[in-house]
Amino acid sequence: MKVLMALSGGVDSSVAAAELISDGHEVVGITMRLWGGESDTGCCSIADVDDARRVAQQLDIDHLVFNFTDDFNTHVVDPYVQAHRNGLTPNPCIECNRHLKFDRLSERADLLGFDAVATGHHARVVQHDGAWFVARGADPAKDQSYVVHMLPQRELARTLFPIGHMTKTQVREKATALGLRTAAKPDSQDVCFITDGGGRVAFLGSRIPFRSAQVVDAVDGSALGEVDALEMVTLGQRRGIGLAGGGPKRYVVGIDHASATVTVGDESLLLCDSIAVRNVVWAHQPVVGAMAVQCSAHGAAQSGHLAQAGDQIVVTWDSAQRRVAPGQSVVFYDASNTYVLGGGIAV
């Protein structure tokens, strides 16, 4: 097959490219230029494009860079900023996958005559019951099925995850064995357009006005302190909420934008029996019933029961779980916790 290999400059996509080549595919390496500003997180900076290009040279495949900065701003950065303004906790990497990697890029791949698009995600695409599904990667500590949960059949049919069957250790060993310059490169941990130096505060601070907020106790409403930026506070947060040290552990259990109030309380106040999920997409068909549900990139899936509620899905937990910050992705796996059936955004 003629495969478009998305090269980020990291070790996973480097080895994925090598796997495709040894499987006999015709591979072209593409790096997407997404963020036009400063970057120091190990993804998308000029140094990362250099790494991608040098790996392509080492593997003797062509390498090109596509400029998708406009789409990135429209579909990832601007919504990220807006979400914070509206008190949501977005996941920009998921929106990037949704709109850039598996939409814009795959559309370009079609145009240029490619048979498939490949990325270095730790995930798998499998056939099950006559349809395609994302399945968890072989390395449970590195599984990224959560961030690629949104792929519909059309995409799944021509998406390859060449390292999904490998553990991270095996990936690095393979990279070392091939002498790839990215073999020991650290994984990029954070959002590519937020610098380690400035953080979210610097990025958002220059784009939206921050409102200060009162921090009050959940039980008796007493004033406990203040935060400089209501927009930076997330449900479930423990640190950085202006509380004096010592005393019992307190978590953000409520955020009210109208009154600019952050309510903090005991962890037990974070628990809930069910959550509502909007903008749900399905890999194949809508499903209801017993499911494993994952609410964060590295969190464990918990058992619950899905039911339709208008155009939303309600997940009723088997045992009480922490509430999910609005804006975060909620991903539904089959009851055996193997296949991604669909997912959406926590209300």
């Binding site: 000029i46 140094a47 250099d50 290009r53 040098r54 040279q57 062509d62 390498h63 090109l64 860079v65």
Partner: protein, 381 residues
Amino acid sequence: MAAYTYLDHAATTPMRPQAVAAMLPFLSERFANPSGSHRFAREARRAIDEARDVVAGVIGCRPGEVVFTGSGTEADNTAVLGSVARRGGTSLCSATEHHAVLECVHSLGGHVVGVDATGAVDLGALAVALDATVDVTVVSVMAVNNEVGTINDLAAVRKVVRRHAPRALLHTDAVQAASWLDLRAITPHVDFLSLSAHKFGGPKGVGLLVAREGASFAPTLIGGGQEAERRSGTHNVGGIVAMAEALRLTDATRTADIERIAVLRDRLVDGLVARVPGVHETVARDRKVAGSAHLCIEGIENEALLFMLDEASVCASAAAACAAGAMEPSHVLAAMGVSRDLALGAVRFSLGVTTTEADAERGIDVVAEAVQRLRRVRVTS
């Protein structure tokens, strides 16, 4: 070159034949612009990438820390002017720096630190100057002096800078160092390092600046954003490839070269000292590089001597090659405290990889005769 007795390697060196060979394809069929997106361009890009890896290996830095420039002067300007442009603050350099550094410091209103009698930076004076100066952004001390060959102890300089101006960046003009010192021993002590290809068997018109991580600077050239936005302008692909090959070879043969050249240098200087009274070797051999044979000759004017050497096709120079031809003594010798009289008789002979015994012998003969003739004329006039 067979027609000349070339004793001016500090001015420029002949290209290594392998460097010429490496360069030629890029002047002919492999002419693509490496910034392009087609595969023809990517081949040229790859050549630059590989050259970058090679030079980084010899220098002991990361490939991403290498910025290809059009000359050593450009690299010096970028480090000094660029770091101050980025951060504000002041600049300092030693009194014997090349003009490519000195002019920058003067233009910024920076400070010049004295040197000892050998031309090495005076560490005590440096400490005092750093203490007395607010907000030092960059200190520039050359690795090897281009006129008299003196080697600076950059590890010691770094210690002083770290102690007296911990936030300052340290730049070294290593343009004269590549043939004589292991750059890997220098790089750990500095933030910026300049090199010039034509000083180590590469072509003219290409150099590089090492900018170590954390050493930020405003670029000298802005435009297309080449070199990761640090130095715009279409890459001199052939020059870069040739520079890398020349540096690789220089590094590979350096130890053997130095041994051989030192013997020739010693013969040249000892031969002249033995035959002609009043010839002074400006810097002691244990303080300078192996190819340096800078002399101060009593009772002659260097311009006159050079004229006579030229008639005999012997190539040497007085003061730095790019100093204006006036009768002013060199700023290097003045900073070293060499008397004006003696400085007027200063001549720089510099040996290199291609220097032969015949060059040394002929040098002795021609210089001795020329000096004797000039002194005879002077006495009788």
